[in-house]
């Protein structure tokens, strides 16, 4: 048994025995409140740490949960459990409605939105006297009841209930992070562009997570109301939202157990300050000083432990060689199950049909009235000087950019209005010029990101961990791809540790995991060693042989001439030549604009090949 499990056991025992330890000396209220705060902070840690969206609305959803439960039981006489369920539903739906317009705007607008929500909720609670009882609050909230135990009175049952829920949310959060949805969130955090190109809809996942964290806050609010039997507006103020954020950051926003640790530290400190400060500052100024102490604490945490306290603690409990996140799979197992490559039906429509595409960036015309067609099963290369618009063409095909004019048809259906994640789901995969992998995920998980569209597990399935079979099979399939690209030795390394060349191969593996019908490669050979380039050229031909159409943007002219069926040469967004490699490479305009009269001597591209050809022409 290792130290981490031993400590976990100790923690659990302490939680169980705490009521007896404290007995009559101290009230159980503080541990109960820590539990409530831990649930709030866990919701925030998922949202901020995983989806990169900071919310200052946890206190508002906490209040909405408490008031919904209180109002339904007091005014309408609902069953407390039913009212709790309703509270969750109300908070989650509100989060969904509020989040929908906010999440579409990329960036940190959620902070502003939730800030406003907090203010609005506070005002309503205080001033809608007839409904909420105003500042006096609502009393007479009935307690929960539980079968054989009858009505749950006193703090003790709620203490166990809330800590049970803390453990449950830790477990749910843990499941979520290790699932298809968790990987999707990591991708969204790392690069939204890469995520949508893999068919991951960022808005949907962010919204689901926001609604989930609001729902968790509402559960905590309901328990608070039932335990106390009374609700008033003051505990749900804006300061609590700030305190929750401090808890998350102090504990370590990327680590779920950190949220619990942060909640414990901040809540205890709050209690301590409440009893200490009035002794120093008379006349009610202590609340302001409390804020000062928070500020100092936050500053100290950010400077001293920028990733939070939990990683420091975890480093101490875990031997460094042990990476518990991913269990090393058995590579030979992967070989048992070959990827089911269902050969795509031979299409007759052109794979890409672009007509008069134009894309302007301000005054710069990046793609200028460009038409071209890519046929099924073709390797179609696009070459041209730097800034000719090659990558822009790929971005137009994948929907990352919308053309200013012109039409684009993929597999026979017009796509110019589709968002990139829908285009990916048509079977379009790509790699990027600068690899956009998720640095903090393992190589294996990065490849599994590419399978997003082929895996089913949704938010709730992932939360409950009901995805084992699918996860296991996705590991096997990813293993086959890793083997194909020679990445098996790196499978369990964090992507950030890979050398540049291997990152390119990793991106290619991820793109292949999408099982594309159309594969777009943006300078796949740059940064690769000679040996890897040869391997890549072989691989591209192999991929084509499996029925995939390939569009290749590349400066390694030697490779382009080797593998491409047709070559499009762009210059300043326009076509200057198109045709089989043999025709293109001797085209005078191509030589003057791109290859260069002297380039062949020392350039990347096969000097001998080009030189020989030009002589033959001359």
């Amino acid at each position: 048994m290792n130290r981490a499990w031993f400590l976990r056991g100790c923690g659990l025992l302490l939680l169980l025995l705490l009521p007896w330890i404290l007995r009559d000396r101290l009230s159980l209220t503080v541990p109960f409140v820590i539990g409530l705060h831990a649930i709030l902070a866990l919701g925030l840690a998922l949202l901020a740490g995983q989806a990169g969206q900071v919310s200052l609305g946890q206190a508002a959803f906490y209040g909405i949960g408490a008031y919904t439960a209180a109002l339904l039981t007091v005014r309408l006489g609902w069953d407390p459990w039913l009212a709790l369920g309703m509270a969750v539903l109300v908070a989650a739906s509100l989060a969904y409605v509020l989040g929908a317009p906010v999440m579409v705007l990329r960036g940190h607008y959620l902070v502003l939105g939730t800030l406003a929500l907090n203010v609005v909720v506070e005002v309503i609670l205080r001033n809608w006297q007839s409904l909420t009882g105003g500042a006096n609050g609502l009393s007479g909230v009935p307690p929960l009841h539980l079968g054989p135990f009858g009505a749950l009175r006193g703090t003790l049952p709620y203490y166990y209930l809330v800590w049970g829920l803390v453990l449950a949310s830790l477990w749910l959060g843990h499941n979520l992070l290790r699932s298809r949805v968790g990987r999707a969130l990591a991708a969204i955090r790392a690069s939204e562009v890469a995520a949508v190109s893999l068919g991951i809809p960022p808005v949907r996942y962010k919204l689901q997570l926001f609604a989930y964290s609001a729902g968790c806050a509402a559960v905590a609010g309901g328990l608070y109301a039932y335990e106390l039997g009374f609700v008033s507006p003051s505990p749900f103020g804006f300061e609590l939202s700030i305190a929750i954020l401090v808890m998350g950051v102090l504990g370590g926003i990327h680590h779920l157990p950190g949220a619990v640790l942060g909640a414990a530290i901040v809540t205890l400190l709050r209690e301590l300050l409440r009893s200490l400060l009035p002794q120093f500052f008379r006349g009610g100024a202590s609340a302001e000083y409390e804020a000062v102490v928070y500020g100092l604490l936050l500053a100290a945490a950010v400077i001293g432990a920028p990733t939070g306290l939990w990683p420091l603690l975890a480093r101490w409990t875990r031997r460094p060689s042990q990476e518990s996140r991913v269990q090393p799979a058995q590579p030979p197992l992967w070989r048992l199950n070959q990827v089911p490559v269902d050969p795509p039906e031979p299409a007759r429509d052109p794979v890409v049909k672009a007509q008069s595409l134009t894309k302007r960036f301000g005054g710069l015309v990046a793609v200028d009235d460009l038409s071209f067609t890519v046929s099924p099963g073709e390797i179609y290369a696009i070459i041209g000087p730097n800034g000719a618009g090659k990558t822009t063409v790929l971005n137009l095909i994948t929907g990352l950019l919308r053309p200013n004019s012109g039409s684009l048809v993929l597999f026979g259906s017009p796509v110019h209005m589709l968002p990139p994640e829908r285009i990916a789901s048509l079977g379009v995969a790509r790699t990027f010029q600068t690899p956009r992998v998720v640095w903090d995920l393992t190589v294996l998980d990065n490849v599994r990101l590419g399978m997003h569209l082929h895996l089913q597990a949704g938010f709730f399935t992932s939360l409950l961990g009901l995805n084992h079979e699918e996860e296991a099979s996705s590991v096997r399939q990813a293993g086959v791809l890793l083997e194909r690209l020679g990445l098996v030795p790196h499978a369990h390394e964090i992507a950030a540790n890979l050398p540049f060349g291997s990152l390119r191969l990793l991106e290619l593996a991820r793109a292949l995991a999408l099982r594309p019908r159309l594969l777009l490669l943006d300078e796949p050979a740059s940064g690769l060693s000679r040996e890897q380039r040869m391997e890549l050229a072989r691989l591209i031909q192999e991929i084509r042989a499996e029925g995939v159409t390939v569009v290749l943007v590349e400066h390694d002219v030697e490779m382009v001439l080797q593998v491409a069926d047709r070559v499009l040469v762009l210059h300043q967004g326009r076509r200057i030549a198109e045709g089989p490699p043999s025709v293109v490479r001797s085209h005078p305009e191509v030589i003057s604009a791109y290859l260069g009269p002297a380039a062949a001597e020392i350039a990347t591209a096969g000097p001998k090949d080009l030189r020989g050809n030009r002589r033959a022409q001359a």
Partner: protein, 262 residues
């Protein structure tokens, strides 16, 4: 078509190159030792290439020379040890790096990216302007859009900007990490020609390059780095003729079906 600088030798590029000496450099990422004692030198006005497979430690070597990661061993510029200096001070002493993956200031304009580098080296206004003219004459594509934010440039243009930014600071030793990445063949040959000329005029260059053929064609001397160690060194001409180097890094024309080497 050919820019004017390709023939004219840039007057202002002339400057005394430094001599760089690196002794027994060692560096690791956590438990992984990426550099296991690399010793090399670059004389004033010399163009030294470093070739080797992916993951050999080439990037680590340049980063360690610039002090971007903790290392053991010694780095000397003109006989003066830089080992105790921070990266900023090493840059002030005359080192400059063209980093892997560009690492530009994305939201700043092309011009501001360039000026920042001169600013960091403490160049005066007039030298800065002069330097700016030089860089723009080297890369006309940049001169066309000086006010465009760096992130709006195409990949290859960003690479030019990264090179221009390093040149802007009047370095004495220029460290280049795969500068040819993503550049069109025409630009590649022009850039290599330019490097050769800058070296002939006194600049010292350490060129890390995956494209061994191009690197050896332009370099004076070269080192082969494998698994964190220098395994071969010599004049570029000798290395080009070395059968082991040839089969591992140069090879014949690329043929996917062909067996490795000869």
């Amino acid at each position: 078509m050919k820019p004017s600088w390709a023939r004219r030798s840039p007057e202002s590029a002339r400057g005394a190159g430094g001599s760089l000496q690196v002794y027994d450099l060692q560096a690791s990422y956590g438990p992984v030792q990426a550099l296991r004692g690399a010793t090399l030198e670059c004389a004033p006005g010399e163009l030294v290439a470093i070739i080797g497979p992916n993951g050999a430690g080439k990037t680590t070597l340049l980063r360690a020379i610039l002090g971007l990661l903790p290392h053991r061993g010694d780095v000397l510029l003109d006989g003066r040890s830089l080992t105790a200096l921070s990266t900023e001070d090493r840059v002030r002493a005359g080192l400059a790096l063209v980093p892997e993956r560009r690492q530009l200031f994305d939201t700043l304009s092309v011009r501001d990216n360039l000026l920042l580098s001169g600013f960091g080296r403490g160049l005066g206004r007039s030298r800065m302007e002069e330097r700016l003219r030089l860089v723009f004459s080297l890369f006309p594509a940049l001169a066309e859009r000086p006010r465009a934010p760096a992130r709006s440039l195409s990949g290859g243009q960003q690479q030019m900007l990264a090179i221009g930014r390093a040149l802007m600071g009047e370095p004495r030793v220029l460290l280049m990490d795969e500068p040819l990445l993503g550049l069109a063949p025409l630009i590649v040959s022009e850039l290599l020609g330019l490097l050769r000329r800058l070296c002939d005029e006194g600049l010292s260059v350490v060129l890390v390059e995956q494209n061994a053929r191009a690197a050896l064609a332009v370099a004076d001397r070269a080192y082969v780095l494998e698994r964190g160690r220098i395994v071969r060194s010599g004049s570029a001409r000798d290395l080009q003729a070395d059968p082991a180097v040839h089969s591992a890094y140069l090879g014949g024309p690329l043929k996917p079906e062909a067996p490795r080497g000869k």
